[in-house]
């Protein structure tokens, strides 16, 4: 009976469930479908890249071809999807009106600005009010960066990846691929070959970035792969908080998103990286949606700290393990995650904490919410290397089930090669209980409000790691994502 209710309510709301599902009508400059050395060269020349960048891409491409020939697309994750035809994807799509790069916000296509408006991106004045510098990546080209000047006075560089390649080649050369080499994995190789843009940030020694840096990603063109690449470097003693948001329009075909994020935290620095991932999850019947295959990793040097916080509500499939290599002594790695799967969404997500330095410390709080036919897997690796004296890890994995057709799985890998390490692992699985629901409803909350309150409360440990504005958005997203799951 409960199932019956769910189905009818879903159909009532179809078309309305994914609020961000609109397509912007902008002329797009598309490279032909498919992947070849020529396409890689085309992408590179479109962007006017120097020779060294093209060489790097080509090495990555050749490596990927080998991996592809050897059929080494990763299959170990607990997700199911039809084989991807990599020759049927567009690897480059730039909105036509920005092929001559905009000089300022005034040069940006008004329709595109209207799109960002709909997305609620705090561009222009709203950005200033919110104290956020925004770099918006539309399909694959970075269209507008605010606050560049103010940040420039502090020596902070925050720009699109393409601009960084042109204007800061030494930094890019030094750090690109230093944490996620192009040989790292199938999707990382693919990204390295064809990435079209992304964000770049550099915080000079001892500087505390006074505002939160933010990038908003959006896939607009049908059948387009999005391969953005982000590189953030906090120099010695620097601090930066970086936010990343993602949306994609409603489409019945799958879209591939294979991003790479590299964080470099030099001695005594701190990087806080927050993500709200709201790519189109597919229809309630499981059609379409984004394949989100992402490699994110940071390296923490001496006394440095890297903190990942993610709220993953979107995508048909999420395959993502933001990790920290705790290389320096006393370095700290954190991972806070809420992953929600509803309808036919699948998520296989978690983290890797690789302890190399002495007295390194990592914390993992992973929360998975499964509803509908959603399938949620936490996969995490904690590795203590022989030299990591007195390493400490605390892992907490909680699963929450809504309904009886969803799944939750926990797959921890623990490898300890130093006897002084201390590791704790806690795991729990719970359901929203009838007692809890009745308690809240008896005080006047509707069934949906009650569910939402229970779920956000349960996620609070993670939400409180998010910057305030982002936490509100995350809260709202959970509510929308769970519509139709309750009943």
């Amino acid at each position: 009976m409960a199932t019956q209710n769910t189905i009818s309510r879903k159909s009532d709301m179809s078309g309305q469930e994914y609020q961000w599902g609109f397509v912007t009508d902008i002329e797009t400059d598309l490279a032909p479908r498919g992947l070849s050395e020529d396409i890689v060269r085309l992408i590179s020349s479109k962007k006017g890249e120097p020779e060294w960048m093209l060489e790097w891409r080509l090495k990555a491409y050749r490596h990927w071809v080998k991996l592809n020939d050897a059929e080494s697309e990763p299959e170990w994750a607990n997700v199911k999807y039809p084989k991807i035809d990599y020759q049927d994807i567009y690897y480059y799509a730039a909105p036509k009106s920005v092929t001559e790069a905009p000089k300022s916000l005034d040069d940006v296509d008004p329709e595109m600005l209207a799109t960002f408006e709909k997305l609620g991106i705090p561009l222009q004045e709203r950005a200033k009010l919110a104290g956020i510098a925004v770099d918006a990546v539309f399909d694959s080209v970075s269209v507008a960066t605010t606050f560049e000047k103010q940040l420039g006075e502090l020596g902070i560089i925050f720009c699109s990846f393409s601009e960084a390649v042109k204007n800061h080649p030494d930094l890019v050369k030094k750090y690109l691929g230093s944490v996620v080499p192009y040989t790292d994995n199938f999707f990382a190789s693919l990204n390295a070959a064809v990435f079209s843009d992304g964000s770049f940030a550099y915080i000079p020694p001892g500087v505390r970035c006074p505002i939160e840096l933010m990038t908003y990603f959006r896939i607009n063109t049908a059948d387009t792969g999005q391969f953005e690449r982000t590189l953030i470097i906090a120099d010695e003693g620097a601090y930066v908080s970086y936010l990343e948001g993602c949306t994609a329009p409603f489409r019945k075909t799958h879209q591939l998103h294979a991003a790479v994020v590299e964080l470099v935290a030099l001695d005594d620095s701190e990087i806080k990286y927050s993500t709200i991932q709201n790519w189109f999850p597919g229809t309630p019947e499981g059609e379409g949606g984004v394949f989100n295959f992402v490699t994110k990793r940071g390296r923490a040097d001496k006394n440095a700290k890297i903190s990942w916080t993610q709220v993953e509500t979107g995508s048909a499939i999420t395959w993502k393990y933001p990790s920290v290599i705790l290389k320096g002594d006393n370095s700290v790695g954190e991972f806070f995650s809420v992953a929600l799967t509803n309808n036919y969404q699948q998520a296989d997500t978690g983290t890797k904490m690789i302890h190399i330095g002495k007295n390194t410390k990592s914390t993992i709080v992973a929360k998975g919410i499964s509803a509908g036919h959603g399938n949620n897997t936490y996969r995490g690796q904690v590795q203590i290397m022989p030299g990591a004296e007195n390493a400490v890890n605390h892992t907490q994995c909680d699963s929450l089930l809504i309904g009886d057709k969803c799944g939750a799985h926990t797959v921890p890998y623990i490898e300890v090669r130093n006897p002084t390490a201390r590791l704790e692992h806690e795991a729990s699985t719970s359901k929203v209980s009838d007692e809890q629901l009745f308690y809240l409803r008896a005080r006047g909350l509707s069934e949906e409000e009650a569910h939402h309150m229970i779920i956000t409360g349960w996620s609070r440990e993670v939400f409180q790691e998010l910057p305030f504005e982002f936490a509100l958005e995350a809260n709202q997203l959970l509510k929308v994502s769970l519509e139709g799951a309750v009943g």
């Binding site: 209980s433 009838d434 007692e435 809890q436 009745f438 308690y439 809240l440 409803r441 008896a442 005080r443 006047g444 909350l445 509707s446 069934e447 409000e449 309150m453 229970i454 956000t456 409360g457 349960w458 996620s459 609070r460 440990e461």
Partner: protein
């Protein structure tokens, strides 16, 4: 205000599980009724059924609130009408702050009645006042709702909600159980201070001792799913003296 007519209730999906076997009860506006009975008599079931708990099915009879049947109303609708249940075992809800929860409850009620929501500032003031009045540790209410609360703290938290929400009909389900004398006095003080010609109470209790502090207008003895005796406050004293045995089928036939 509340009329219960020949109410028969079973547990959902379990055969031969009738708990309430034809209850008739009328509570007028402004009255305080006590329902007393031994363990397993159906007291808590009655309290929960009044609030709309779905684990029970009403097989016969009706419940009228201000003359309208409410048996098909969802629990939240009953709350909006002005009903309130102080739980015997309040649920623990991790991560939800009592403050946030109460504000949401108050807002939901205002919304349903087309009234304006209380401002955050006014609510804060009211909340702090009531927290002090019911003697809850202010640190506790900054944490999770009922999580890690002792039995007594949970009951005080129920009283806090009662005082903030100001319902027209408050049902207290064994709020006195597990309380020490100080806490008992606070519960009694809460009820007595809220007692008014516009508000009714149903106090469900096993023991007479709470009734030393709250003087009911009417006392009912509920045994084996039936009200076997109704009387004034003196009835509670009889129970105190002679126990429930005189009212049970075994006791009566002996």
């Amino acid at each position: 205000m509340l009329e219960i007519k020949n109410l028969r209730v079973s547990v959902l999906d379990i055969d031969d599980s009738e708990i309430l076997k034809g209850i008739d009860l009328t509570v007028k506006t402004g009255e305080v009724h006590a329902i007393m009975g031994p363990n397993g008599s159906g007291k808590s079931t009655l309290a929960n059924v009044l609030m709309g708990r779905t684990e029970y099915v009403i097989t016969e009879g009706d419940i009228l609130y201000d003359g309208e049947s409410i048996i098909d109303l969802l629990p939240e609708k009953r709350a909006h009408l002005g009903m309130f249940l102080a739980f015997q075992y309040p649920a623990e809800i991790p991560g939800v702050r009592p403050w946030q929860f109460l504000k949401a409850a108050l807002d939901a009620k205002a919304d349903s009645r087309g009234e304006e929501k209380m401002s955050i500032r006014d609510f804060s003031k009211l909340f702090d006042e009531k927290v002090e009045a019911v003697g809850i540790n202010p640190q506790l209410v900054k944490r999770s709702l009922n999580e890690g609360f002792s039995g007594g703290e949970k009951k005080r938290n129920e009283m806090l909600q009662l005082e903030v929400l100001q319902p027209e009909l408050a049902i207290l389900d064994e709020t006195d159980s597990g309380l020490d004398v100080d806490a008992l006095r606070i519960v009694a003080h809460g009820v007595n201070s809220m007692r008014s010609p516009e508000r009714s109470f149903i106090i469900v209790t096993h023991y007479q001792r709470l009734l030393n502090y709250i003087k009911p207008d009417v006392v009912h003895i509920l045994v084996e799913g039936k009200i076997v005796k109704t009387g004034g406050p003196e009835l509670a004293l009889d129970v105190e003296k002679d126990g429930y045995k005189q009212y049970t089928s075994v006791g009566a036939s002996a």
